[in-house]
């Protein structure tokens, strides 16, 4: 009896789901994602599995980075902003904005949202962007708010694109029903199965074409691709390169993931720059593109993608020069560097597509020039142990294969963590690097760009900080009924309002 009831309910659900209104130009869509959102907490929206769903769809931010054009930081909930004479930033808020619970958006909400992020009563991850900063918030009036940051933050408006705004009634603890000012509200969340966002009336901006978005979650890329193909979903932001065979539906995009081997400079023989150079020369990067790494991937010269401020076009990719590598190794050996010591590559299972094959190929290439290389695959937590400080005592020479994501347009989200002496993933300590990072972080405008460029060149050519590999390409499959092109930000954010329905 009970069984038939359950099945009956399932049947009914499937029938209704099967009928999709054919209204042109607007309607519901289904999106299939790889990883389920375990939380829909606005202050966790900087984590991609959460951000992809709620960022700018449910929860909006004061500013927004233009990833389609080159307009840089654009207004969203803040209409404009300026830097005060004392170095603090003043944001002028948009009028007439309401939250999905009906309350009106004002400066108090912004202050609360920020304080909530910084509160020790929760584990908001957005807090990390404000590490080491003292922020004093001053509400000037209902629609004007001042942020005074010590030390001064030239890129505070950019940082504000990471702070999601919640109503001031929101408790400090994590919530499960996000309330935001965005064009959508959460209308159904069945953990393990689906999350549904519906367009809401009373949104301050333009009415989006997508009236409802149902998010589904499938871990297997082949299944995700198949679902769009069979019409069970309309959009899968990430499918496997192998499945991206239909030019009408499958699009590649630079997905802001940069893959590299982090070198631990503290341990011989990796403390020798010739050895580090030899590593770089030994790898035939170009051979990967179009085979294990999709066509369209860019060989990296910096840990930040080319769209980033201060990216340096003059820095050239190391050529594939096995003889040069052998020569360098021989030199190093002659100078007493223990180049025979086995070097271990630590990689993470399923870190990025084809990680095993790529690492096996790199291992083979390094071995070809005379390195002794072991390859070790570990799971996330163990990988993190190798990647971040404090490093283990008594470790051997290690290369950590990692993938870094900076789609935010400014190297500051990268450089300190990866290269500064105090950076958690820095494999070396160099006073000049520290100095450049410090100066660039504080600089604005062209000065800032110039300093970053300088740093990038110095890291690549002089320090030979790491083995930079590729700016990766992702593939998405978009149903032909949708009008959507993925961007570099699609990994972390998927704005439903940017999706058109044909």
């Amino acid at each position: 009896m009970k069984r038939t009831m359950v099945f009956g309910a399932l049947m009914a659900a499937s029938l209704t789901a099967g009928i999709s209104p054919a209204a042109a130009g607007s309607g519901p869509i289904k999106i299939v994602l790889a990883e389920e959102a375990d939380l829909l907490e606005p202050c966790m929206a900087t984590r991609s599995n959460i951000g992809r769903i709620i960022m700018e769809n449910v929860s909006e931010t004061l500013t927004e980075l233009d990833v389609r054009g080159k307009k840089g930081v654009m207004p969203r909930l803040a209409e404009k902003w300026e830097q005060n004479t004392d170095g603090s930033w003043r944001f002028h808020l948009r009028h007439g904005v309401t939250f999905s619970n009906g309350t009106t958006f004002d400066a108090k909400d912004v202050k609360h949202s920020f304080e909530r992020i910084m509160s020790p009563k929760n584990a908001c991850e957005s807090r990390r962007y404000f590490g080491g900063m003292n922020v004093a918030i001053n509400i000037v009036d209902d629609y004007t708010i001042d942020f005074k940051v010590d030390p001064a933050q030239p890129i505070l408006p950019l940082l504000m694109s990471l702070v999601t705004i919640v109503p001031e009634e929101t408790p400090l603890e994590f919530i499960r029903e996000p309330i935001g000012t965005g064009p959508y509200k959460l209308s159904n969340w069945t953990p393990g199965q689906q999350i549904v966002l519906s367009a809401r009336g009373g949104y301050w901006g333009e009415k989006p074409q997508v009236t409802q978005a149902t998010y589904l979650f499938r871990a297997d890329p082949a299944v995700r691709a198949a679902m769009v193909q069979t019409g069970e979903a309309d959009l899968s932001p990430s499918i496997s390169q192998l499945d991206a065979t239909n030019t009408k539906t499958d699009f590649s995009y630079l997905d802001s993931e940069t893959v590299y081997l982090r070198i631990d400079h503290n341990i011989a023989p990796l403390n020798d720059v010739r050895v580090r150079k030899a590593l770089n020369l030994a790898i035939d990067r170009q051979a990967f593109v179009g085979s294990l790494v999709p066509d369209g991937a860019v060989l990296a010269t910096a840990l930040v993608p080319p769209t980033t401020l201060g990216w340096n076009p003059d820095v050239k990719v190391f050529p594939f020069d096995p003889d040069g590598a052998k020569k360098l190794l021989a030199e190093a050996k002659a100078a007493g560097v223990p180049v025979e010591t086995p070097i271990t590559i630590i990689a993470r299972t399923a870190n990025f597509p084809n990680v095993t094959e790529i690492m096996e190929a790199i291992q083979a290439q390094l071995q070809d020039v005379g390195f002794k290389v072991d390859l070790k695959f570990v799971e996330v937590a163990e990988h993190e142990g190798y990647y971040s400080k404090p490093f283990k005592e008594g470790r051997g020479p290690i290369l950590v294969a990692a993938s870094h994501d900076n789609s935010k347009g400014d190297p500051s989200f990268t450089m300190f963590f990866k290269y500064a002496s105090k950076g958690t993933q820095a494999g070396f300590s160099d006073p000049k690097v520290d100095d450049l990072i410090q100066r660039a972080t504080a600089a604005v405008g062209d000065e800032r760009a110039k300093l970053w460029s300088q740093l990038i060149a110095y890291l690549h050519d002089d320090v030979v900080a790491d083995v930079l590999l590729f700016h990766m390409v992702g593939f998405s499959r978009v149903s032909e009924r949708l009008d959507f092109k993925p961007t570099i930000a699609t990994n972390s954010m998927l704005q439903l309002s940017e999706i058109g329905i044909k």
Partner: protein, 304 residues
Amino acid sequence: MLSFIRKRSLSSLISLIGLLVLVFFLSRLTGDPAALFLPVEASAEMKQQFRELHGLNDPLLVQFGHYVGSVMTGDLGESLRKARPALDVVLEAFIWTLWLAAITMSLVAVAAIVVGSLAAFRSGGFFDRFSSMISLIGASVPDFWLAIVAIVVFSIQLAWLPTSGTGSVLHWILPIAVLFVRPFGIIVQVVRGSMIGALSSAYVKTARAKGVKAGPIIFVHALRNAMLPVITVMGDQAASLLNGAVIVETIFGFPGVGKLMIDSILQRDFNVVLAAILVTAIAIFIMNVLIDLAYALLDPRIRH
């Protein structure tokens, strides 16, 4: 009967407590959830705060004490990742697993009994050879491989069935079909072996001497006698289904407890792991009691 269940409960309780203690300490030794909850760039202070927030800074024994204390009051703690009660998370997922396991096992039972019995009836014959070959091959195919092939064939090429997910009856077909294969292969063999024994037993001779037809001899006389070992193996198979069909759940996007358990340990969401183990262990215990009841039902000699 009641005293039997009471005795069983007690011994199972001991096992369960042992299991929970083991999992509690082992899982906590595998690493720090803070490192996984927070991004790699998070500062040491943030990680510290996170640990503070969830009581992970206390010595293990103190943590254990807290856990035992709250379990006593029926509170299995909160999921670190999902910020909601671990038990809710688990129960939600377990319902799916339960249905999946129940339907799969029912189908397996019927199919394996029919095929195994017929194979035993003409043991050594063509059907016997054929069915044991098929079931053996079935039992040695990796399930993830089978799952993907099934999707490619039935969902993409033939477009008969949805690829994955939940929603309609059709969504259940592929996961069940993939889960079906291995237990079927194993149970067919057991049924066959047990039935060969039963069919050569003296009471079957009596039935033949009475003029009973082949059908009733197989399915009435021999089968009920042959069922005891079959039920034992079915119980084992059902238990492993109840523990979650991790791979099938992962590929088909089925929100069951197996994937939840693996995800939770990957993310070091200890409370969910513990709650999941508790729930499945209790379910398996109940199933075992039911199996014992089935024994007694099938074989009067076991009833006391």
